[in-house]
Subunit: 216 residues, 2 copies
Amino acid sequence: MKIRLLLVDDHQVVRSGLRMLLSNESDVEIVGEAGTAHDAMDAVDSLLPDVVLMDIGLPDLSGIDATRAIKSAHPEVAVVALTIHEDEEYFFKMLEAGAGGYVPKRAAPEELLTAIRAAAAGEVYLYPSLAKLLVKDYLIQEHSSEAGKVLDGLTEREQEVLRYLAEGVANDGIAEALVISVKTVARHRENIMQKLRLHSRSELVRYAIRKGIIKP
Amino acid sequence: MKIRLLLVDDHQVVRSGLRMLLSNESDVEIVGEAGTAHDAMDAVDSLLPDVVLMDIGLPDLSGIDATRAIKSAHPEVAVVALTIHEDEEYFFKMLEAGAGGYVPKRAAPEELLTAIRAAAAGEVYLYPSLAKLLVKDYLIQEHSSEAGKVLDGLTEREQEVLRYLAEGVANDGIAEALVISVKTVARHRENIMQKLRLHSRSELVRYAIRKGIIKP
DNA sequence: GCTTGCATGGGGTGTCGCCCCCACGTCAAA
DNA sequence: TTTGACGTGGGGGCGACACCCCATGCAAGC
């Protein structure tokens, strides 16, 4: 079963080049071409290809918007971005639009083929320079949500109370959970708010979320 | 300038196979081999390779721990995971340990070479089936923080009040800001909480952060 | 031995949050 | 035209919260 491919690029020569390049592959069949975003969307509607090779710089709509539209109407159609852009912004936007691959035009032909095959299988191929950006983003997300532990000089008991406060539990609920009096809970809360220079439960909740003590 | 490579795998045959496979490449030079995590760390210390090809299943320490140790001592040495494991857990842990690539053993030889070259250049190669997992994770992070706009049937005025409530402003402060009475603010708050099925300011703050109305 | 910090309590006071009740003007939809 | 949603405003009540005061016991450290 061949992979049915739609080429989208506003330059005729680029499409022809891709056609030359890909027509030698036994598992790929080019079923259509489009030079604008609207043509691409129409072509997807009528041809239902397995994979769309999508340029970003198109004359009418951007390839990002086109991808969003295609994925919205046909979630089963995979879209691989093939573009000269290697900046962070386009890359992340394309991912959010639902792209199943991102390959810069300077990539080797085999990499493009790998991306097409991966996309057809429902997987994702990312070019190494861009995968690096995504991993970086992932690590930032991770580290911003741990990194706590110290908690600005709060005692153990205060940290314990803080976890309950952050979740919005009332004083008497915390007292029950920790088997201490409501007054003591209030006392701890006062100390916590003084140490952290906070002035309401709301600020406390935001503080706890920033510190990763609780999930939003 | 050749890429200086260290092979780490507990099976002699696998190392020999990789040596066969890679020795034909003109830009790769295998400078050493190791069968255990400790041998690998010693070898990195003495040889300072550009790239380490790291198995995960090692007899003494896991390749993940070994990677963490290597990146901690020599951040400039790139580590590419080459393993039979394709589960989410190992993959994410390896990323956190600082791996600059992740390739399952079933991958094609060219993909391994792409990964080695990408890692040597400070980039990241991820095998498509795993890149998919990372993108999925990324999209979850994103969508949990945007996706707002509609706000579950709140009226304009209610949304306005919600923004203040979320920031922890007290009723009279909101009343002053919006030039309405405290009672009206309270009225709006009640309606908001009823519509969103929330029961305290704390829950309201967390809701607002999830919806991206305010930053944590 | 004495201070210091921590956790534990009690009392008081005033504000605020949360939940009912009500009313009126406006504007759009039925 | 009438109905309904929306924004506005008010009254009353109860409990929780925020901010003070105070004291006790216990461990660590000077």
